[in-house]
Symmetry: D2
Subunit: 465 residues, 4 copies
């Protein structure tokens, strides 16, 4: 027990907030429905919730966020007050995109209505097209001649080992986000498309991540950056510190990225193995400026800022990432006197780094067993049963010889609960158990007939059959 | 009257069928609902209907088509029996695409599940993402790890002056098409995504067009081509003849493309004017081979075949077209002995030309006024009224001094019925009138309380208010 | 003998001139040095010679051509009167390019000084960079700050089986061409970079080809097209006729391209085999307009015109071609009223087709043996000996039993003279023999101590050792 | 004087060597010819000189470097022992490239012979083509069929304010470098293509820079990185320190990049103005691995490593940079067990960072005036005269009232010596004067009849007329 405890104490729990937005307020996480749905049709969108509110002053941008808490997964819609000029830079090895070909034609015509970021891997692209058809259905873009909507967007992969179902942001969710769009507010952390992202899997960190925004005004010039960080690499601050990581065995609490990078391949050991290859991470980003730019300038801005992100996310743009960057000019002001493209790019790159840092949510506390509670056999028998999380994952809990065990019975394992053998559950608090490990799993039986896995912001709930 | 008649007789009505598919049968066009819907939600998909059936033997391909006859508009889904290798070549100046970036990474991994073609301009991209999410919802692609669906696809613009509403292929329609997919059958002409396309607007031809398929087998080698022809240019056969065109004043009935091209800019006069610029045409195509190819070979095949289409469609790949070509290798056989990439490309290019020719539907007969019927004043008063086609287009019919007039009252004109003045309707058959012109418009009042514009395959129906 | 004769008579000898330039005059082909050089250093440039002169009126363009007749091979330099805006479209599977990356940045800044076309495969790229450094050396572009030259350009492959040495256009040759540049004159046919090109190898045609230019003025609008046709495909006129081809056994004298294309793969049989794969052809082209265009418009023009070339060259843009198209706007006039990009593209595409047709040089007459001359044994012994064409190719001629034989003794065969066995030479005229075949080879011994292969425009000369 | 002195003492002179190569030895800088040449033809290549020798063990790589010391400018040729697979990633806004189009076709065929880096802006591309033609001229690549050489390469801009002439690496220089190529040796710092590069102009640092290499072996896996750093941004070490910079007024001696970046736009003030825009910087790089990779993997490696360079060079990939990255696989070993592409990319990124750090040469000492020497009027009169550096730059030195003055008389100023007025020269050492400033200029008259500007590694010499 001591050994486990000391191992746990080595795990990184750091939450260092990035550059803070001018004003902020925290909202309570939404309550997820306890019954896992069998189909997307039963899910109810929850809008503009979660994360830490960032306020900023830019009436031309309306932002809406929506989530299915059962996933959890979500979508973030940035809608512009009029058609704007857009550019795109795709850099990663596993992108999912809608309409990027058109942006690369360099037409000097504002055409973009909206940029959409979504969870759900390639399925989440439905969010992008749904925003566009909603623009038509609501009458903003009738489809008559030139009045045709153009939403562009990209997705991140938030399936796999980070949740126990494959719910994705669909048409209903995306259109709810669009309808909820408002000016001046963005939610940093576990919200919108960043509702269930991770960072640092490259080093096995696997830390809860999110979406981040940042805003800067210099005279009349406005620059905003938004990013959904589901990076293969780790989030790094300007002093080279890793912002969030479940550390490996024996790792120091405070990690320097240079140590991780220079100790490759050892810093990747014992090593993760991803079924089906590593194309499962992505950082999707948007930089918006209010100065006029021509298409080639805007593309250069996208390239410079996108490249600069290799500082705040290390490594970046790997084959395992589908990194995409959009750049938008709202063309509200002329370029400030003397402002060159590289200078604007430098300023915007720092705003983007702030956005990256703001994406890191409060990390969940590690379960530390101080004095293990006594659990009666009767209680154990009450906990036992078959719990169903989704079509893919179920867990069988059994009580034997005064001990409680769990074993996954669906298509795949359930976090630390394996498929091929049962694992002993360690009592942790009243009605709460854990399976230790680099990423310890908590099983909460305190709600009757339910099993809540990792209670908190990213919890997954199963109903007893 | 004679003048008009003689002008009409000059119009090209040619229907010359391209290389005929092995077996074919014609189906009756679907009956469209008479009440124009107020929203997409009220529309009912009609599947696998219309056009001329082409049978072919390739179990690895399942094809489904669905349409909203009220548009009319539609979608065509080509689904593969397993994940296949794909490449893409975007050539036109106004593409609408989903997931083409990924295809251009040249991974030697079969990833594509389905290629989707759709009407509805950028709104129709919802069809592409809908097919993908349907793959998940139906369980074929669970979303778990590597079992993630990948549908790619493109759209054509079928709004504007070719119909009186802006109904688009949506999630419901696309998923209906996917569920209706079957092997061995493709529908040439006005069906699926080609339900309401035109060709030749470049020369003012504006001829009804469609989708075309062709198939060739050489030993074990199978090559199939599919294309949705909404081309700015005209369809040209192997003898240089234009296949379909509403000809200009004084044009010969049989047109040679070389005459049109060499007489530029005169052959474009008096000239069309497209509100909002010319990016309103597109030809989207797919070439499928069953031999194994590596990604660079497949891309070269896409490029060669796509370029070759400049023969069957002239001009091609203009700024006014959003031309996109997909190439798929199902990898069922090794490359035939001695088959080089350029040779395969040459063979496939001819199959594609056949597909282009097969896309041309039977052209609607021109209304010819031989002996004008007498229309009573009472009948005229019965025809008079306000007819609503859609949110965008209504027509007001008035009877004055023994003549019938029409004027468009919505956002825009209704074919030849103008907005800024009333136009006299010429009696044509009992209860049927016309507005003459290069593209004569027929107004049919024979159904009580309805006005049917251009009755037939592409008719539009209004209810009297 | 009759058999051979009848086979020969089936060979296509067609020379049909394409659209003729306004004024033209033919010049005598340059006399090549008889001693094959051992190194590039010994070669002397010959400038502005060969082909058929085309005059046109456009002071902003200066064109220089230079060749090494010993190759033969050459270079064509198009130099603009000031820096101009450029775009590029690479379409083929085997391009050789200098500075195309820069052109694809879409900067709205005129930067191009010169477009260079060259023989010599990748070695010929030295021509492109040589033109640029010559701009500096001559002081036109000092290299100080913004006064930096930009030459862009591409190459064609003219080595291999079409000549007996691998002489390439080098710095010396390219700079000679630049210095010889003049306004108003282009040379169609076997001149400049088109000095030793072929077309139609795809079908085994292997016909002598060249470079072609064409010019059109519509009001103030000027459009010029230049192309170096070394196409894998055949040159096709607007009636679908193949312009030049050494036909296969039993082929009709007049070939229709549709017959060749639709009879694939048979029309490629008995089939050619190219050592080292087929990436040995290329058509490199330039379209110039004098109207102002922005970068995206210019790129669209390049794409449309490049794609249209699939009509005049069939097939086009195969893996075996390195096709590259440049588009230049000299920005001398505003766009003519009402001129759309697709319209300009259509006009320019026809000018380009004229240029393609103008590229076809007079085809060499086929050697027809009517009454074979008597050759004495003494004469034969005089012809016998070792003849050296280059480091790569030598031919040994022997007289045995009243017959003359030849055998290649270098790295590879010499046209129809094989390496692995001797071949009998057929007397043809006094001192002139031939080796029959689809591409008959003529051996001329009439100059003492020399062997001239295929005397005429593309002759190769060997000195007796 | 004190003011100037204290300003000078603030300037950054830091030389912190990056990760040191296993073995190293310093060589004396080459002696440049004192008479500035009037043409490239008079220049003599100096090979394999300068910089700090880095030894490494990889027989497959031969590297040659050559320079014109009069420029100074140079070229670096990396030649492979056989044809190898290559990929390229162009990221900057002002690239100069040869044959990058071909590399982007993803053919799984090793084709690259050599990667060439050169000074001389677009003129330096002659170096790339010259290496290729030398491969032919020397017989390694005969040009016969498949035996065709392929050299690819890029250039950096080293003209403008960093030297007083526009000498460029030409065919002669590049071929000298090729012939001098040897295994196991690379020269870090001011050598080869990095002979006269700068870094940090973005912040006005303008620090002498160079080329850098680094090598790592992990078991059988070999990774080498080479880079020519002419970056707009500053070189940054793993602790965020700027490695070399002429600091601005009041700047601390030790600069942190985060301070520079976060204080934009102030950290760019008083601001530089580059005539003709900022596209004057470039970092060109090469990563070589000995493991087998397919084309898409190699491209991903190029992308990941290239993006990672945004850490060691800040900012990176701006419109003012022409950054290009080549990746080469020599395919000598199979991929090590368990090595993923992102892992290899991470390792290679660190090797590249080492190469960046190794590129920084020893910075020239700042001239500090401690006790000003007495200069006689006679000596001053002897120094007076007209000195010619090149066709572009001359300096007139005059003695008046016991003071010495200088004024530039050519096309542009000579470092701190202005064109529009004379500037007083401050005595510094016997026969040595200076013009103070952020980038102080030293004028050395100690060689009779000569004026040496900034004596040392990057000195420029003028002859008295």
């Amino acid at each position: 027990m001591m050994t486990m405890k000391s191992r746990l104490s080595l795990m990184a729990l750091t939450l260092t907030l990035g550059a803070l937005p001018a004003q902020s307020q925290t909202t309570t996480p939404p309550t997820a429905k306890l019954n896992p749905p069998d189909s997307q049709a039963d899910l109810k969108p929850v809008v503009n919730t979660g994360g830490t509110v960032m306020n900023f002053d830019w009436p031309m941008l309306k932002i809406g966020m929506a989530e299915y808490s059962e996933g959890p997964t979500g979508v973030t819609v940035i809608r512009f007050g009029r058609k704007v000029l857009g550019a795109v830079d795709v850099r990663g090895g596993g992108p999912g995109t809608v309409n990027t070909e058109f942006l690369d034609l360099y037409y000097n015509v504002p055409e973009v209505d909206s940029v959409v970021f979504s969870g759900g891997s390639w399925y989440g692209l439905e969010s992008v097209t749904a925003v566009n058809t909603a623009l038509k259905d609501e009458g903003a873009r009738t489809g008559n001649w030139d009045n045709i909507g153009l939403a562009v967007g990209s997705i991140i992969y938030d399936f796999g080992d980070r949740r126990l179902n494959e719910i994705y942001p669909d048409k209903k969710l995306a259109q709810a986000a669009l309808r909820a769009a408002q000016t001046g507010i963005f939610r940093n952390g576990s919200a919108g498309a960043g509702r269930n992202t991770r960072s640092g899997y490259y080093f096995g960190c696997n830390a809860p991540s999110g979406q981040g925004g940042a805003f800067k005004q210099l005279g009349d010039l406005k620059v905003a950056a938004f990013t959904v960080v589901n990076a293969f690499g780790v989030v790094v601050d300007r002093d080279g510190k890793v912002k969030a990581c479940y550390g490996g065995d024996g790792w120091p609490k405070e990690l320097e990225v240079k140590d991780l990078m220079q100790n490759l391949p050892d810093s990747q050991k014992p090593g993760w193995t991803v079924p089906g290859g590593p194309k499962r991470n992505t950082t999707i980003s948007l930089i918006v400026v209010n100065q006029k730019m021509d298409p080639s300038e805007l593309k250069r801005l996208a390239v410079q800022v996108h490249t600069s992100m290799a500082r705040g996310l290390q490594p970046y743009a790997t084959m395992g990432d589908g990194d995409v960057m959009y750049a938008i000019s709202t063309a509200e002001i002329d370029a400030p006197e003397g402002m060159t493209n590289p200078q604007l790019g430098g300023i915007a790159s720092e705003v983007m780094w702030d956005a990256i840092l703001n994406s890191v949510p409060e990390q969940p506390p590690l379960p530390v067993v101080t004095s293990a509670p006594q659990v009666t056999e009767k209680a154990m028998r009450a906990y036992a049963g078959d719990y169903r999380f989704s079509n893919i994952v179920s867990v069988k809990v059994t009580a034997e010889g005064g001990k409680l065990y769990a074993q996954a019975t669906g298509e795949r394992k359930a976090y630390n609960v394996p498929k091929d053998a049962k694992v002993e559950l360690i009592a942790y608090k009243d009605g709460v158990f854990m399976v230790p490990g680099r990423y310890p799993t908590v099983l909460d039986f305190t709600t009757k007939g339910k099993l809540v896995m990792n209670p908190g912001q990213w919890q997954q709930t199963a109903a007893k059959k």
